[in-house]
Amino acid sequence: MGSLLGKLFISFFQIGLFSIGGGYAAMPLIKAQVVDLHGWLTAIEFSDLVTIAEMTPGPIAINSATFVGMRVAGLVGVVVATLGNILPSIIIMLILAKLYEKYAEQTLLKKVLEGVRPVVVAAIFTAGLGLLQLAVVSFTSPDIFASVVFVLSFIALNSRRIKVGPIALLAIGAVVGIGWSFIF
């Protein structure tokens, strides 16, 4: 059991350490460790995991760590795999955060980071368009529904009179979605 937990920890530590650039960059690394190297999941189970990870909230790597941890060693496995996965982040980000707070006001770093900002905005825009496509195109029946929800949310967010937080709006979206499915 101990060595199994050790393997689980090291596997997800590696996944965390080597996946730069978000969930889709982590995917092949997760598959290599979990399916090919250790055989903790079959290829079919892995593809199910990808589907679930896309359907449920949270980073794909954390979702995978939890799913695999649960399969391999129950709740202890969940904690060990997740910890292993985020430990590289914790170490690296604490160092970078410390450096940022110390040097952010320095002219060169400030200028460099300023230069990169348009890319980040473009990346967020791209993610938003991708989500919009996914929301409006992915389901056959809620097509119109998703479009209506999108437009109404957008209006609510831009309105000065309506004050609604992102989380409240999401909860409304989910409830309206369920309501819609019962009516149509």
Binding site: T56, G115, A123, P166, V176, W180, S181
Partner: protein, 202 residues
Amino acid sequence: MKAEKHIAWEQKGKPPITFRFFLRLFWTTFTLSMFTFGGGFVIISLMRKKMVVELGWINDEDMLDFVTIAQSSPGPIAVNGSLMVGYHLARVPGALVAALGTVLPPMIILTLVSLGYKAVADNQVIAVAFGGMRAVVAAIVLQVTWALFKPLTHQKRALPIVLFVLSFVALYVLRINIMVVMISIILFSIIHSVIALKRGEK
């Protein structure tokens, strides 16, 4: 929309570090993570909406820098972003509390899902609930894009706009990997900044 802009930050600034604050930080990252679908940039958008606009804990410039650093570092973007934000607000304890809030919802949900995942994957009600949430998330992310885009135009300089358009074409039209785009622009930005600073010295 004008009313929300930056005023919160100037008035409130960093909150005092109390037990109540840590509870609030945990609850904020927990709920954000709970409802965030579709990758790191989405949660970053929601974080901005919540922490910059609603709570006024962080300003837009810092938030964008955090995204850059979170994206260019190993590990999940959402976790990295929470660690940066948490550290900014309350050093190491803040970072750990924010990270815990971010990882707990997926841990809880996936633990439950792994017990009966076929039922979840095939469940029509869950599918439509997610469908509704996706549409809302798309609206939030696009609205945040607009809010972040506006300051780029304020300086009345062409370069930020050109970089935005180039990055957008590279990412959305050409589907070039974000890391490639990011690293190219970081390199460009370093060279550009060094030249600009040298010129300023003379």
